[in-house]
Symmetry: C2
Subunit: 224 residues, 2 copies
DNA sequence: ACCTGAACACCGTTCAAGT
DNA sequence: ACCTGAACACCGTTCAAGT
C-alpha cells in the first residue's frame, strides 16, 4: 500500500545499441532486409523511430552493425591448420552464414567502408595463403578467386528456390512452364532430367566448385 | 502568319516503353540505381511520374526491363566455337557488362522471375557444356562454379576502388589509415607491397580465376 | 540522458478527372 | 489513348520540447 505497483508487469528494458542491432537482425531474418525500416524497428521495440537515433547514428550505421555481426559469424580456423583445410572450412562457414542470413550478401556489397570486424576476414585468408608459401601476387589471385566464388554462389543460392524436395519440385514446375522445351532444351534437361529426379543440395553443389578451385591453387603452389 | 508557330522548338517526343527504359538506364549509369525513382525519371522525361505507368506496369516492371537490357549486352559466342573459348569469351563479356553497369549485378539478384532474355544466357552456357561432352551433372557443377565466380567477381570489382593509378593510390592510402600494420600485416603487405607499387587491373585479375576454373573443368572433361 | 511530436523532403501507386 | 492533380500510405531524419 505504501508503494504504487509498477504500471506494467514487464518493465521496459532500456534501449541499447546491442538490443537495437539484435532486433534489427531478427526483423531482417524474418521479413527481409527491404522491410527493415527505422519506423518498424521502433514499433518492434515499443519506441518511436526517433529514439533509435540515440543508439545508432543513422540507418547506415545500423546496417554497418548488422554487416559486422554477420561476418563475425564466419568460423575462424584454428591456427596451425593446413592451408587447404583452413580455407575450405572458412569458405563453407561463410556460405552457411550467407544462407542463414539472406540479407547479408547484399549488405557486404553496400558496406564499403572498412571496419575492424570486416577487415579481419580478408586478413586471415591472406595470412593462411602467405604462410602456406603463396607469393603476394598469388595470394591476391587466390583471394579474389575464392572470395568471388563464395560470394557469387551465396547470391545464386539465395535467388534460386529451396526447401523440401516437394516444395522444390513445385517451384521447378512453375519455372518449367515459362521455358518451352523446344526453345530451352538444355534448361529442361537439367530441371526435368536431374533436379526433379535427384533433388539438389546447395551444400554439396558448393563443395564441387570450392574443391575445384582449391585443387587449382594447390597445383600452383606445388609448381612455385 | 497563317499558322501559329509551335510553342517549343523541340516538340515533345511521345513516350514509349523503350524511351522510358533507355532514360532509366542512363539515369542508373550516371547516378546509381538507388537514385532511380519514378518521380525523378518522370522529371527527366518532362512528364509527371504517373504518366510512366502508361508504359510500364510498375517499378518492378521497369527494373525487369533494365535487367533484360543488361543480360542482352552479354556477347553470344558464334556457334561451333570450342567450348573453352566460348565459355571464356562469354564470361569476359559478362564481367565487362557488369563493370559497365554497376547496378546490373544487384538487379540480377532481385529479378528472380524468369524472362526470355534472362533464360537465354544459362541455356547457352549449358548448351556449350553438354555439346562439349559434359554430363548433365557435370554441366550443372560447371555452370554454378563459373557463374558464381563471374557474378561474385563483378560485385567485388564494383565495391573496390578503381580509376587511374593516382586515384587508386589515394584511396588505398585512406584505407591503409584504418588498417594498422601491426594488426593487419597481410593486408598491409598486399596494399603497400603490391597494389601501390604495381597497380591493379581488374580484367587481368578476373582472367586468373577464370582460367583456373576452366583448366579444372578441362581436366574433368578429359577424365570422363 | 533519453524519449517524443511535429515537421520536412522524399518515396510508389491509385484513382477520378481532364484532353 | 495518354497525361495530370490530388491523395494515400509509406520512408529517413532534424529539431525543439518534454521528462
Amino acid at each position: 500500500m505504501a508503494t504504487r505497483p509498477k504500471p506494467i508487469a514487464t518493465p521496459r528494458l532500456p534501449l541499447t545499441r546491442d538490443r537495437v542491432l539484435l532486433s534489427a537482425l531478427e526483423l531482417a531474418d524474418r521479413d527481409g532486409i527491404e522491410s527493415l525500416s527505422m519506423r518498424k524497428l521502433g514499433r518492434r521495440l515499443g519506441v518511436e523511430a526517433m529514439s533509435l537515433y540515440n543508439h545508432v547514428a543513422d540507418k547506415d550505421d545500423l546496417l554497418d552493425g548488422l554487416a559486422d555481426i554477420a561476418v563475425g559469424e564466419i568460423e575462424v580456423p584454428s591456427i596451425g591448420e593446413d592451408w587447404r583445410a583452413a580455407l575450405r572450412r572458412r569458405a563453407i562457414s561463410a556460405r552457411e552464414m550467407l544462407a542463414r542470413h539472406p540479407w547479408a550478401a547484399g549488405l557486404m556489397e553496400s558496406r564499403t567502408n572498412p571496419s575492424p570486424a570486416r577487415s579481419r576476414y580478408p586478413e586471415a585468408v591472406l595470412g593462411s595463403l602467405r604462410q602456406a608459401g603463396f607469393s603476394v601476387e598469388m595470394a591476391i589471385h587466390a583471394f579474389f578467386t575464392l572470395d568471388s566464388y563464395i560470394y557469387g554462389f551465396a547470391v545464386q543460392e539465395r535467388n534460386l528456390p529451396s526447401g523440401t524436395p516437394e516444395q522444390l519440385a513445385s517451384v521447378a514446375q512453375d519455372i518449367l512452364r515459362a521455358l518451352p522445351p523446344a526453345e530451352y532444351p538444355y534448361l529442361n534437361e537439367v530441371i526435368v532430367g536431374h533436379v526433379l529426379k535427384l533433388g539438389f543440395d546447395y551444400a554439396d553443389e558448393f563443395e564441387f566448385g570450392l574443391d575445384l578451385i582449391l585443387d587449382g591453387l594447390g597445383e600452383i603452389r606445388a609448381g612455385a
